[in-house]
């Protein structure tokens, strides 16, 4: 209780603290509480339009045979949660806190509660979120899907997620964030904390499917122990008013591995400030950060930061941006920091338009100019992802391909 009180004090002190990056969102413009929504035993009975929106964020409700579990939060209510595989736990955060006393010890360990006013509001306001845990040695065959759905107009959705992969476990997660397709404004404040124990593996394949009036401020922290692996694939190809996120992964155990892949597409009016930060703090830890950014008129800041503080660590940062129609802006900011001899950190960054020479090369093979451009864009967005199960890789590629026509 004492710790909880101190935490709330810190949150209160930070309730007006500006974030380090991104435009400031006026929280007073949004409603912060929402009615409790009814629980759905059968998620496939949700309205067709809602399911369609969720489908575009990678959430499948009609056929859950390809999933190890499902959790859906609409506004502030967890309306459905199931776990279909032994050794995998899936439930709402509030339910999990009632069930497990120890869970409160995990909260705000990977993300500081007083990081900024958004984290503070998640702590202080009405919130829920998901709790997903793989018990020691449990390995998901199929991914767990977690959907955060913003239904009420002008709501600030507060979410606090905790994901724990116990020793030797493997967890594949598809979190899909989306909103009712009404075009109404809304704000998503999502805190996600990952704890990847010794020898555990987590893949987190997130497809964001917002609408042009939504502002999004995810706050994510990942702690990876010895021989652990964290693989993040983040895709946002639909318009969003304002998105700022800069997850931080800390490798605290020897030989921990982190990979971040991001695919960002900014339509006119979209404003994205997206990065990945990795602290290689234990011997032999490794990371690779790859981002692909395309603007068709919106603005993208693509950040990347790798810090090496331990012997034999290795990191590579690759940041490539494409300005498709001569409008919009891409600002790539790759950063490396080393504090020891013998570390190996590198980066490459490139921003530009599609080279005419490349388009002409494909046209020489008989493709029209538009077909050639589409082929090059498709290739640009194709990120080879190691460690993802083939079926999940296929789903990700499908999601990317489905959005390609919007880009062209």
């Amino acid at each position: 209780m004492k710790a909880e009180k101190a935490r709330r004090e810190r949150a209160r002190a930070a309730s007006s603290k500006l974030a380090a990056f991104g435009e400031d969102i006026d929280l007073d413009e949004y409603a912060h509480s929402a009615d409790e929504l009814p629980y759905q035993i059968d998620a496939s009975r949700l309205p067709a339009q809602t399911k369609e929106q969720m489908m575009q964020a990678g959430i499948m409700l009609d056929d859950d045979s390809q999933r190890s579990g499902t959790i859906i939060q609409m506004d502030h209510s967890v309306v459905h949660s199931t776990a279909t595989q032994q050794g995998i736990e899936v439930m709402g955060t509030n339910q999990a806190l009632e069930k497990y006393d120890w869970l409160s010890d995990y909260l705000w360990k990977a993300v500081a509660v007083d990081s900024d006013k958004y984290t503070a509001h998640v702590e202080l306001g009405q919130s829920n979120g998901y709790f997903i845990r793989a018990l020691p040695g449990s390995r998901t065959v199929n991914p767990v899907q977690a959907c955060l759905y913003l239904a009420r107009s002008n709501l600030a959705q507060h979410v606090h997620n905790t994901l724990i992969a116990e020793e030797g476990s493997a967890l594949h997660i598809i979190p899909g964030c989306t909103t009712a397709p009404t075009g109404e404004p809304g704000l998503h404040l999502g805190v996600s904390e990952f704890y990847i124990k010794r020898g555990a593996q987590v893949s987190f394949t997130m497809i964001h499917n917002w609408t042009p009036e939504i502002a999004v401020r995810p706050r994510t922290g990942i702690i990876i122990e010895q021989d652990g692996l964290f693989l993040s694939n983040y895709v946002i190809m639909k318009p969003v008013r304002s998105l700022q996120t800069y997850p931080v992964a800390r490798c605290v155990g020897d030989n921990a591995v982190v990979r971040f892949n991001s695919i960002l597409v900014a339509a006119p009016g979209s404003n994205m400030d997206v990065g990945s930060r990795v602290i290689l703090g234990a011997k032999g830890a490794r990371t690779e950060i790859v981002s692909r950014a395309i603007t068709t008129g919106g603005d993208i800041i693509a950040r990347g930061y790798i810090e090496g503080n331990a012997p034999e660590v290795k990191g590579h940062l690759e940041c490539r941006g494409l300005i498709l129609r001569g409008e919009g802006m891409i600002h790539a900011i790759p950063e490396l920091k080393g504090t020891l001899a013998g570390i190996d950190l590198s980066h490459e960054a490139a921003v530009g338009k599609i080279a005419e020479e490349e388009v002409e090369y494909l046209m020489m093979r008989g493709l029209t100019g538009d077909e050639a451009t589409a082929t090059i864009v498709r290739g640009f967005l194709r990120v080879d992802i190691e460690g993802l199960p083939p079926q999940l890789n296929l789903e990700l590629q499908r999601a990317v391909e489905a959005s390609e026509k919007d880009i062209m």
Binding site: A355, E357, M364, G366, F380, L381, R382
Partner: protein, 244 residues
């Protein structure tokens, strides 16, 4: 098949080709010699229709049709194909995607695999096109794409440059297949036009006519082997003298 009349071409406002005339019939292979910077690539790119290479005078007809108003892809679909000397790297676009673009649904995976095997590029099909390819791999990849495209008129820009002796024989084989050299002359339907700086390719591919292009003008036309012997023995200076 290909008729070029009084062709002049400028690049970036600078005149490169002057009054070029040549004619290549179906089944024939012609060779273009010339020193670096003489305009050889410009001629091929003008035939292919690259917008950077602006025709300022004269004309090009292909299969009896004036093609000057056609775009690169329209010319490709009419049956003109080109193997580039230094093709660009296109990150993310796989060799397999390029071959798929070339066949345009005319061939199945088995056929594509057979072609890749023939070009000794099976292991390259899922790599980004031209990324980290050696000189020989680039040339074989270009020829693989042409095999998939199966053009009636194939243009080759220095297919042997940067290729070792082992690979050059394979390059020769692939060109011969593209040009249908396994068939009797009267049955050959494909035509070829090869730029060569060194002439090595002539050890592997038979050609009917040779030209020497000097400072943007064709200064000599004749038996390609004789021309090559002259160049080897006396250099392009002799061609220059002869032209005067």
């Amino acid at each position: 098949m290909l008729e070029i009349k009084e062709l002049s071409v400028a690049v970036g406002g600078r005149d490169i080709l002057h009054d070029v005339n040549l004619s290549i019939k179906a089944g024939e292979t012609h060779v273009l010699f010339g020193p670096n910077g003489g305009g050889k690539t410009t001629l091929l790119m003008a035939i292919m229709g690259s917008p950077k290479y602006r025709v300022t005078h004269g004309g090009i007809t292909f299969k009896g049709k004036d093609i000057l108003g056609l775009s690169v892809d329209e010319r490709a679909r009419m049956g003109i194909g080109m193997s580039l000397q230094r093709p660009p790297v296109v990150r993310g676009v796989k060799a397999r995607d390029m071959v798929a673009a070339c066949v345009r649904g005319r061939a199945n995976e088995e056929t594509v695999y057979a072609l890749a095997k023939k070009a000794n590029l099976v292991d390259f099909m899922d790599r980004d096109i031209n990324y980290g390819f050696s000189g020989g791999e680039i040339k074989r990849s270009e020829l693989l794409q042409l095999l998939a495209q199966n053009p009636d008129m194939a243009l080759f820009d220095e297919p042997e440059s940067g290729v070792d002796l082992v690979n050059i024989a394979l390059i020769g084989e692939l060109i011969n297949e593209l040009l249908g050299k396994q068939h009797p002359i009267r049955d050959r339907k494909h035509a070829g036009f090869i730029i060569t700086h060194t002439g090595h390719i002539l050890d592997y591919v038979n050609a009917r006519t040779g030209y020497v292009l000097l400072e943007g003008r064709i200064v000599c036309e004749g038996d390609p082997h004789e021309i090559l012997e002259t160049i080897k023995g006396k250099g392009y200076e002799e061609c220059r003298r002869c032209a005067i």
